[in-house]
């Protein structure tokens, strides 16, 4: 069957010409103060999945944005099937058969799936939209590649996994023969990752060329045929996936051996610092996202909150931070009722918050690194003297934090929007932890962060626990939860399904609870609905 699908005329099942080989040769790209790509060679062939691995800020996205026509290389060549290409805009790249799924989704939420697909394309009816025809084709493609999604739904109604399928459909609809996926799994649940991988394998079998970017070594090992590692803008090495392993790849990425197991002393439990009592919080669409949740976090412990994304964790974290109103119940911070207090009051009581949406909630992206570092304490010494800001102190402290937390930035005056995703996360962490909080709410602290930085962040969290901070760690990454938590609470459809001891919890046990099976419950899935 596969010979028939591959065909002999060099076409894909979508009707598009195949890209037999794409080569990037000696690519150089500079940004003010940063050499993001330093003579990078990279290539991919039809039918192959080539993984691009590298720490935050290694230059992966930058390299791919040049292949997609968003940036122009300062030097170097891009060849497709041996012919040199000059892309001035994404339109040129799309025409050449290249598609890209961006690290941050590029969808218009207020438009439907079909409208997002049709956007920017010529209509077969001239000045009139031909959405019905687009819809038909979208249904065909989604059937063909197992990309389930309702073409008529508005994008804002879709879960993250579905939005990603829309992105892939968009690229396929435009006839992409080469597809770039920039950290496609960072926001997916394990089940969604499985579905994505099935689609990718099928695309490779059909003769697409695929570039897969990720930080997660086990994913790279599972899906790719070849791995290339970038570090500080340079290619460190390239390996057939079969001939390499986690330890080698981790070392290539970080440039030193990486600890994948942590040592932890038993928890020294102190008083309850954060108490949540029968909390009910509304969601974005009117329903109750958090239902009657009660939790206690003691000084000196890490309480892990596990759960599949969209089960109320985000709303709970926002309510704890004071960013979302509470419908009923109470929040006690260091013994004080803060249920209806604004964020400032909580910060003053010694709470720190690492938000999930770091670009939106955690930083002011036009502000400099230094300004972002002092956002919460700008009114206190040493950053201010009476009514004036003390710029020397601000710069000095910022430089120290940037060094200590290994934030990659040209200077402390660089606007945060120019930092790579992982480095923004480190920056927030530097700010929040340097305040020596009594209570720390950490929401997906290592999402999209490379292993070197993840290791670093985990060590810092354990250090804080040692220092007596009460930490609520909200994460969808089970490995992370299990490696760090003293106790693990599992959330499902807005409720706490159960709380188990951290060190002894198994992945299977947690997996069942995440699917809604109560602790000690039987084998059937219990539907929890009010």
């Amino acid at each position: 069957m596969s010979t028939q699908v591959l065909g002999l005329d060099g076409r894909l099942p979508t009707g598009q010409m195949r890209i037999e080989e794409m080569r990037m040769i000696g690519i150089v790209k500079r940004f003010p103060g940063v050499l993001a790509n330093d003579h990078v060679d990279f290539d991919v062939r039809a039918g192959e999945i080539h993984a691009l691995l590298g720490e935050n800020g290694a230059g992966k996205t930058t390299l791919m944005r040049q292949l997609y026509g968003l940036y122009r290389p300062d030097a170097g060549k891009i060849l497709i099937n041996g012919v040199e290409q000059h892309f001035n805009s994404p339109q040129d790249a799309i025409r050449a058969g290249i598609g890209m799924i961006h690290q941050h989704f590029m969808l218009v939420p207020s438009l439907t799936v079909v409208e997002n697909v049709a956007l920017g394309l010529k209509s077969s009816r001239g000045v009139l939209l031909d959405l019905d025809r687009v819809e038909k084709r979208v249904r065909e493609l989604s059937e063909q590649y197992g990309l389930k999604v309702d073409p008529k739904a508005y994008v804002w109604q879709l879960a993250v996994g579905e939005q990603q399928r829309v992105e892939i459909l968009k690229a396929l609809y435009r006839g992409a023969a080469l597809l770039i996926l920039d950290e496609p799994t960072a926001v997916l649940t394990p089940q969604e990752v499985e579905d994505l991988f099935r689609t990718l394998r099928q695309m490779a079998r059909d003769g697409h060329a695929l570039i897969f970017i990720s930080h997660k070594l086990h994913e790279v090992l599972a899906i790719s045929d070849r791995v290339t590692v970038l570090r500080d803008g340079r290619v460190v090495g390239s390996r057939p996936t079969k001939e390499t392993n986690k330890v080698e790849l981790a070392q290539m990425m970080v440039g030193r051996p990486v600890i994948l197991q942590y040592e932890r002393s038993p928890a020294q439990l102190g008083e309850v610092q954060l108490a949540i009592e029968n909390l009910v919080v509304g969601g974005d669409r009117g329903q109750d996202a958090v239902r009657n949740v009660s939790l206690e976090v003691h000084a000196g412990e890490i309480l892990g909150l596990a759960g599949v994304s969209g089960n109320g964790q985000r709303e709970l974290a926002e309510a704890l931070a004071g960013l979302r109103p509470v419908k009923s119940g109470r929040i006690l911070l260091c013994g004080k009722d803060v249920t209806h207090e604004p964020p400032g009051a909580r910060i003053a009581l010694g709470q720190s918050y690492i938000p999930e949406e770091r670009l939106r909630d955690g930083t002011i992206k036009e502000f400099s690194v230094a300004d972002n570092l002092i956002l919460e304490d700008h009114h206190k010494p040493p950053f201010s003297r009476q009514i004036f800001l003390n710029f020397n102190a601000i710069r000095e402290v910022s430089k120290r934090l940037v060094n200590e937390y290994n934030v990659k930035t040209p200077s402390v005056d660089t606007p945060v929007k120019n930092l790579s995703g992982g480095n923004i996360q480190k920056l927030i962490l530097a700010r929040e932890l340097s305040r020596r909080p009594k209570v720390l709410i950490a929401s997906q602290p290592t999402r999209g962060v490379d292993i070197g930085a993840t290791e670093y962040i985990h060590q810092r969290l354990l250090e804080q626990r040692q220092a007596g901070t009460a930490i609520l760690l909200i994460s969808e990454d089970l490995d992370e939860i299990r490696a760090l938590s003293d106790r693990i609470a599992v959330m499902y459809e807005g409720e706490i399904v159960g709380i188990v001891d951290g060190p002894s919890a198994t992945a299977e046990q947690l997996g069942l609870m995440m699917a809604g099976v109560r602790e000690g419950g039987q084998h059937h899935l219990e539907k929890i609905r009010l």
Binding site: L70, Q91, H104, M106, L111, G120, K170
Partner: protein, 310 residues
């Protein structure tokens, strides 16, 4: 109070309400294109003034109102283009550049008026055209189908604009550029070009709005004759949640209240004059406060686009 609700008075209110809605419709629909693409132009009132002046002046000098209308369109287009250069290419703060454009239009139209005319002169503007058959319907014919061409044009613009925004690939691009320019950019859409087109189009329609005052409704030119109508037009865009039909609803509501208020004065109803004049504006603010659907607001409104932000 009794003589207010006689049939002739009610018909009169509707008739003047429709006429009064005309400039608002042109200006607001134009601004709706601008804002749906993620730019806001606060200079509408200034463009209207220049449109009113050039329409009147050229119409008077050439004796041909169509030349006047064309001049108003051209001047509006140029001012829109100027706004586009400043806000799209130079990425200036849009609120400030819009106010600058308003002051510029206000000042220049007054200056030109003083230099070219000796006093307030009037002109015979576009004449009513009775639509065959429909125009003969008793009562309704007089009220709805006996207007001049610019009034008809304003109401035809509503379905046309709605069609462009929601049924054409171009409209889809406009809305996408206003909601998420990064996404549009990655699909190869030229964000700046779309915004140039909408901002210029908005300027042209504001020019017509001005001309509709000076050569079709009031038929004279006076300094600052719009007295802030352009700002009401912007408010109506919010009121209508950025959709042409919603905007028309707002424009009609505002104009009918205004017409009612005028008739109150005409009939000498015992009602304090100042309150009567305030009525439509107070209504607008009230309606705005109740009705605005923030969710419908283009996400990128007011934000210049630069590639490479993520």
């Amino acid at each position: 109070m009794n003589d207010l609700f006689t049939i002739p008075v009610i018909l009169g209110i509707i008739y003047s309400g429709l006429r009064l809605a005309t400039p608002y419709l042109y200006a607001s629909i134009g601004e709706a294109f601008v804002q749906n693409s993620g730019v806001y132009n606060l200079g509408v009132d200034g463009i209207m003034l220049m449109g009113a002046f050039s329409g009147f002046y050229v119409g008077m000098k050439t004796g041909n109102l169509w030349w006047g209308l064309l001049a108003a369109m051209g001047v509006g287009l140029l001012m829109g283009l100027l706004m586009a250069v400043v806000s799209v290419t130079l990425k200036a703060e849009q609120g400030i550049s819009g106010i600058g454009l308003y002051m510029f239009g206000l000042g220049l139209s007054s200056l030109l008026f003083k230099k070219t005319m000796t006093g307030v002169e009037s002109i015979s503007g576009f004449q009513p055209v009775r639509i065959p058959l429909l125009g003969n319907i008793p009562y309704l014919g007089d009220v709805l189908f006996n207007h001049n061409l610019l009034v008809y044009g304003a109401f035809l613009l509503v379905p046309l604009a709605s069609f462009i925004l929601y049924k054409t690939p171009f409209g889809l691009m406009i809305r996408a550029v206003g909601q998420n320019p990064q996404a549009a950019d990655t699909l190869g859409i030229n964000v700046d070009r779309i915004r140039y087109i909408t901002v210029s189009l908005g300027g042209m329609l504001a020019g017509i709005a001005g001309a509709s005052l000076s050569i079709s409704l009031i038929n004279l030119f006076q300094e600052n004759m719009t007295s802030g109508m352009g700002f009401i037009a912007i408010a109506l865009v919010y009121f209508g949640s950025w959709r042409p039909w919603g905007i028309m609803g707002g424009a009609l509501l505002f104009s009918f209240v205004n017409a009612l208020q005028l008739w109150l004065q005409v009939l000498g109803v015992n009602f304090p004059y100042d309150f009567a004049v305030m009525l439509p504006y107070a209504m607008t603010i009230l309606a705005l406060a109740i009705s605005v659907r923030r969710a419908a607001m283009p996400d990128a409104l007011g934000k210049p686009f630069e590639r490479g932000e993520f």
